[in-house]
């Protein structure tokens, strides 16, 4: 490897430090107008009438749009097309958009918003999952399982309950993970305009230009060929720009109607309403363990608070159980999940998508198991690790697993053996692990086409241009793309021009989500670059009179021993020999062996693994928590650029820590005399607490390289997996420090203090949920695991007994 693995300045580094990166709100076009959305002040209401006449008459207003202008619904998943660009009849959360003003400037647009008169008939607010289960009416949506239950899922991979019943020990624990939001520092912004040829272009801070493209075609009822979506570099995404957003669709419609460019930038408050962040999840884990510390079975139930719309929620709900099987050997597994609608901003995918919540529960429960069995938590885990190249109980195919090395690394570097249960009172260490996807195995909409495509052009100047729909959200996807092409062609990444995230000129890539970009785009890029290399080698070989396969591509030269050409000379020869040079590559993930309904969520070309040790100090007088240091080791397969990889890992640690200690997207009820409605507790950056540079501990990061054959040069993901173990490791460290269990997030000083008071009173020293409501889970789909004679399909209930 000449480029891969070497620390380098990212290819777009200069633009970012000079302020030249053009984010969506930095774009300005001649004759551009500005748009503002009117949002519902009610969490749940019917719209009785809307009068826009005064707003229309306001000087400087060019257009007013309402729900009537948008007859077609949309939604990111084909099965939940439950949103309208502007709500036509019913509003479902505070902030649901109901009207739009397009005006000469933002000031005028804001003034005109005040002139729109909407008469609402407030409906009772559904505030929590418990309320959603208890109150089928008023229904937030007319679709779903029933009442306010959006989705129910139930699977049985072997008879987990009987395995648990026959175990030496049974552990039953409840956990709660509070919702939180992405908080990208860049607010969402979009600019829509008609090109000179009459086609529509939308520039937007989106992680998924391809999905926005599809939604625009649907909602605007335009051929997709007439629409171009350009994803501007995102000023942070974290999943918050993965959904199709109302404002994107409305701005596009306005530009089409007016024939003028229309821009909108959300305010910070609106970004909190847009949300699509971490689902609050209540979890119940029943786990059976043998006395020597092997898992016999697990029964996991989750209750997922979806907020007001579907978003990615069906997938998120699957993910609250899909990956419990990929870290440790689990012979039998039962998983039941429910997602309910509530009158809060819609939840969706945030870094780790649905998996940090159950990972939090599982890793704390393992700490409790280790304590009960008097085993070291690291040793307990090391003895039960999933095996490489194996199938899990729920039919996921695992490739390489670097988790053993990750655990051993953090244990050694943190001095774990000398610290765990050995530090003085008030100080402790905790350990946890995690695993994440390297790209979802299936696209969001069913199709047989590649999930990522790359096109390469090379010309006689020696210039190489690479086109890909992948989206630069700060994670460094352009750098990965340039590095991989450069490695194959033996040139420097800075010599490559990346054109990305533009549905008008780049091959389709599904977007920057599910940690898919390095693996999927990377494999497609290798394929395209290898094809170009073959052509260059053939042309150069003729000139140099050697066999093509003996040529080396390195250092900007194509050579054999002392004979050689510059890369540009080789391109000239190839262009002369073959004509204009262009190649393509594409990637589709391997087919997953699971064949049951629901098997589509969880498969991935590879899984990354992480282990983390956290040291914590807890002040017994105040409950104050200080984290002096975190050690993390991440199985990245192969590092493409260590500077960026480390940044992804540390950024994940930061976000996990911030969620663990302070972040919460929470709501409060107004007093009955003020309608009793549900309002956002603090939709502001000041009061929504997140970790600052002063709170951030030292992080010791180690990248473990266990290359996976499905990945480009073996490289797995790094942007989401490392978040997963951080929160449970903190909870476990706090237990080690002061002997209290905080089984819910965030872990705040007041909770620690309450737990310490319980402990002092001789009561169970635990803060966390104390009951799991009755959820009408359906009878589970019965899928025998591979070692019980299954073939990856569900079996009928009658046959199930025979198989078991």
């Amino acid at each position: 490897m000449r480029v891969v693995g070497k620390p380098r300045r990212r290819v777009d580094g200069r633009a970012k430090v000079t302020g030249q990166t053009r984010f969506a709100d930095d774009l300005v076009l001649p004759r551009m107008l500005h748009m503002k959305l009117l949002r519902s002040p009610h969490p749940h209401a019917l719209i009785e009438s809307t009068d826009v006449s005064r707003a229309k008459a306001h000087p400087g207003v060019h257009l007013v749009l309402t729900g009537e202008d948008f007859p077609t619904s949309f939604g990111i998943l084909p099965i939940t097309q439950d949103e309208y660009p502007l709500a036509p009849e019913q509003v479902r959360y505070i902030g649901d958009p109901v009207a739009a003003i397009v005006a000469r400037d933002e000031q005028i647009a804001c003034e005109a918003l005040e002139l729109i008169e909407v008469r609402y008939r407030p409906l009772e607010t559904i505030a929590s999952p418990e309320e959603a289960l208890a109150k089928p009416e008023p229904r937030i949506h007319a679709y779903g399982e029933r009442g306010n239950i959006h989705r129910l899922q139930a699977f049985q991979f072997g008879d987990a309950e009987s395995a648990i019943a026959q175990s030496d020990y049974v552990f039953e624990d409840l956990f709660f993970y509070e919702g939180n939001t992405h908080l990208p520092i860049e607010q969402h912004a979009s600019l829509a305009a008609l090109d000179a040829d009459g086609k529509l272009t939308l520039w937007s801070s989106t992680q998924v230009p391809h999905y926005v493209h599809r939604a625009l075609a649907r909602v605007l009822r335009l051929p997709a060929s007439q629409i171009r979506v350009i994803a501007t570099p995102n000023g942070g995404g974290f999943g918050g720009k993965c959904d199709v957003c109302n404002h994107e669709l409305v701005a596009a419609k306005a530009a089409l109607m007016l024939g003028r460019p229309v821009k909108i930038c959300l305010t910070r408050e609106e970004v909190f309403y847009m949300h699509r962040g971490r689902h609050p999840v209540l979890m119940k884990f029943r786990t059976g363990v043998t006395k020597d510390g092997r898992l016999t079975g697990m029964h996991l139930q989750t209750l997922v608070d979806g907020g007001a719309y579907g978003s990615y929620g069906v997938a998120s709900t699957f993910y609250t159980g899909a990956l419990q099987t990929v870290t440790y050997e689990l012979p039998r597994y039962q998983f039941e999940a429910a997602r309910v609608f509530t009158n809060k901003p819609p939840c969706g995918p945030k870094r780790g998508h649905g998996t940090p919540q159950p990972r939090f529960g599982q890793e704390i429960q393992l700490d409790k198991i280790a304590e009960r069995l008097a085993k070291d938590p690291a040793e307990l885990r090391l003895a039960m690790l999933a095996k490489p190249n194996s199938l899990t109980a729920n039919w996921l195919r695992i490739g390489s697993i670097g988790l053993e090395q990750c655990i051993r690394t953090v244990v050694e570097r943190s001095g774990w053996a000398g610290k765990h249960r050995k530090l003085p009172p008030g100080r402790g260490v905790g350990l946890a692990c995690g695993s994440y996807l390297c790209g979802a195995g299936l696209p969001i909409y069913w199709n047989k086409m590649p999930q990522s495509g790359v096109q390469l052009l090379a010309d006689r100047s020696g210039q190489v241009t690479v086109f890909c729909g992948a989206t630069e959200i700060g994670q460094g996807s352009d750098d990965v793309l340039a590095t991989i092409v450069a490695e194959v062609l033996g040139i420097d990444p800075t010599e490559i021009r990346c054109i990305t995230g533009d549905t008008g000129i780049t091959p389709v890539d599904l977007g920057s989500y599910s940690s898919r970009v390095t693996v999927m785009m990377g494999n497609a890029a290798i394929q395209a670059a290898e094809k170009l290399k073959v052509m260059l080698a053939e042309a150069a070989a003729e000139e140099l009179e050697v066999a093509p396969d003996r040529l080396q591509f390195a250092g900007g030269r194509v050579s054999f021993d002392s004979r050689g050409l510059t890369f540009a000379e080789a391109v000239v020869l190839a262009e002369a020999k073959f004509g204009t040079l262009g190649t393509v590559g594409s990637y589709s993930p391997p087919r997953s062996p699971g064949r049951y309904k629901g098997a589509g969520v969880g498969p991935s070309p590879a899984y990354s693994y992480t282990a983390c040790v956290v040291e914590a100090e807890v002040d017994a007088q105040t409950g104050w928590i200080r984290i002096p240091k975190i050690w993390i080791a991440h199985d990245i397969g192969r590092t493409i650029n260590p500077v960026l990889a480390r940044g992804q890992v540390e950024g994940s640690v930061y976000m996990g820590l911030s969620e663990a200690l302070m972040e919460e997207q929470v709501f409060r009820r107004l007093p009955p005399k003020l309608s009793g409605a549900l309002v956002h507790k603090f939709p502001s950056l000041l009061e929504y607490k997140s970790i600052t540079s002063l709170d951030m501990p030292e992080v010791d990061t180690v990248l473990i390289e266990d290359p996976d054959p499905n990945c480009p040069f073996g490289a797995k993901e790094a942007g989401q997996g490392p978040l997963l173990p951080v929160a449970p490791a903190i909870a476990n460290a706090i237990y080690d420090a002061v002997g209290v269990r905080i089984d819910e997030l965030p872990i705040t000083p007041d909770k620690v203090l309450r737990a310490l008071q319980l402990k002092a009173a001789g009561k169970p020293a635990r803060i966390g949920p104390d009951h799991f409501p009755a959820v009408p889970y359906p009878a589970p789909l019965i899928v025998p695991p591979p070692w019980e004679g299954g073939d990856g399909k569900e079996v009928k209930r009658d046959d199930a007994a025979a198989v078991v």
Partner: protein, 161 residues
Amino acid sequence: MKVVHLALSVNAEEQSCSFAPYKTLLEVLREDLGLTGTKHGCELGECGACAVLIDGEPQLSCLVLALECAGRSIETVEGMARGADLHPLQSAFADFGAAQCGYCTPGILLTAKALLAHEPGPSRERIQEAISGNLCRCTGYQQIVEAIEEGARRLSEEQAR
């Protein structure tokens, strides 16, 4: 609409501009002077993304009226590089992974520049304190702090030459 005419000194250049008197410095920089390197994340003084230097001191441009800036020297990220050469802080940020999405970067660069003007070799704690008003969601701050340390080294080497 009533507008005010003002000469502003931005990045050591006199800029004559006309704008509505309620406009913040952030808005005038971005909308009237086309200097979009200065970012916004809240426009309420909460995130630090819009930090610029006014008479050498970091200020949140979303909380400053442009009207107040007559006769004062304003520096934005566009003014940091020396011609085509990056400022040592900029090159250190690019080399050390301090800019991921790059959105908080301009505000942090300028805050760091002001710190180094007062303290050429600040401790890690002083750096963390100086940028504690600048939120970054990408990096976890560690690579930013290291880049500022490296920028300080590069700057002092440069000054020693």
